[in-house]
């Protein structure tokens, strides 16, 4: 078998390129179904948003799953024109099943609330200010 190994330049480039990537799991298959069409309550429930000071990864996850801004009305969680279907209680926390096998917990954190993803990232929740709400 005739083969040629990469030279040192190749190894250097490969090392540099390796800095750019960061893990990743196999994707789930099929169409995501963790939410269903719904009318968001016009006034009932509390409006929560993810704080802009939260870690970027937590903000991205929250946005991708529609939890960057949501209305919680008891055990019902609404986002956009959707309602998240898989909601359950676990102690004081509300646990939401999301697409891709991920879960998010809404739980007390000191005087505030936190949104904690099962993959690790954690965001602070707050009520929107008048400016943010336009």
């Amino acid at each position: 078998m005739k083969t040629t190994r990469a030279g040192s330049t190749g190894a250097l480039i490969a090392s540099l390129l390796a800095l750019a990537a960061c893990g990743g799991d196999a994707p789930s298959e099929g169409t995501a179904t963790a939410s269903a069409p719904a009318k968001v309550p016009a006034s009932r429930g509390e409006l929560w948003i993810v704080s802009a000071d939260s870690p970027v990864e937590a903000q991205v996850l929250a946005y991708v799953h529609g939890l960057h801004a949501f209305v919680r009305n008891g055990d019902e969680v609404y986002s956009g024109t959707s309602r998240l279907k898989n909601v359950d209680h676990e102690g004081e926390a509300l646990v939401i099943g999301l697409d891709g096998g991920l879960t998010a917990r809404i739980e007390p954190s000191g005087d505030a609330e936190a949104l904690v993803f099962s993959s690790g990232p954690r965001a602070t929740l707050q009520h929107p200010t008048a400016e943010a709400a336009r």
Partner: protein, 412 residues
Amino acid sequence: MISLPLTALRESFGCLMVLLVLLPVPHALAQAGSGTPEEDIIFTYHQLTGRPFDVQTVAQSSRLVQSASGFDRPEVLKQEVERLNGRIESQDPAREYTLSINSYISDYDHDRGEFSINLFEPGAYVPLWYEVGYRNVQYHLVFANGAGIRAIRMPKEEARAFDGEIMRGGSRNVLIETKFRVTGAGDPTGAVSGQEVIRAELTGVRLLHGNGNELYTPVLAATPAAPKAPFDARALDVAGLRIGVDADDFASALERLYGVPTRVGRDRDPKVNPRYAGYLELDLLRCMRLPGQRRREPQVGDICVRAFFDEDEVVRAVVIQRVFPRIQDAEVVRRSVVERYGEVSYTGSAGNSVIGWGPTVPQELLAYGAGGATALSVHVEGLFDLMGSSNRAAEALLVLQLVDAGWANGAL
């Protein structure tokens, strides 16, 4: 057996925006010459996917045609075109190829208890080139089932001995002997982009020292036999927003969550496609940095939306944008959206930073025109302070778009 001097390269979703220095550079690439196995891989890919291959240009620039006299050239060209078409048509999609690829094994990750094989990390690909006329077309060969064997997991004591074994050759470089079949186009994880991404399924892998001695043989998991559920844009949402809903309900949801939207009819904006009656909007300019406009810069957390509805007042296309802090590692975005939406169907070339799902839709029906035209797409853009001195993006804009593909393509 085919043996090639190949080196795996890597890219990252959105790398042009934030990781310019890390873009793959043409290096140690395999030029697919006439009649070579690399050419067979490329031709199998074109045969299997039906993607166009510029046979005419390749034939025209071939030595055979170029050396023919002016008198004979038309006939020689015709024969060469027929020969190339015949080569593409005669490829066997079930053929198993073997490539030997230079890669390396990472240091032991003590927290995760594993080594990592560089070739199978997200964004890794094997570059192949094909000369088409006066330009080289680059093909990215990706192994769709490579992620499952990326990690070499073992306890610390065992890892110490294995690490010593790796370093017997004086470096962490290894030769990876791969056996695979060409199965289609595109990287299912969206991490590798480009015009021509060859998807392959590994059937066998061995890690070898430079002298050919075997170092490690990963066990490949069987490919799942269950068929994928068909893509259904109406079953999805982007950041909670859906298509197929009543425009008034959509407006109410926007008002509760973000603020009162503006409603614009086609009579007020003639640029709106005739298939739409109008749109709802939360000021898109709020999410842009415009030269000379210092009234209000985009703030992290800002949301902008445009949703087009048809004559029946049903929302058919929506784009939502959110301003984020500068995203150091766009891989965070790719991983999040792929975990949510699954196997991608489109990946924009480097710099475009677009990945998409589902069928293509007419470009003119998109709510947001940049990048590809799939029913669902995710774009990452940098927001640059055009009046500032820094050439780094001040913030990032994450754009999610969903179009009712059934309606757009005339199925409704």
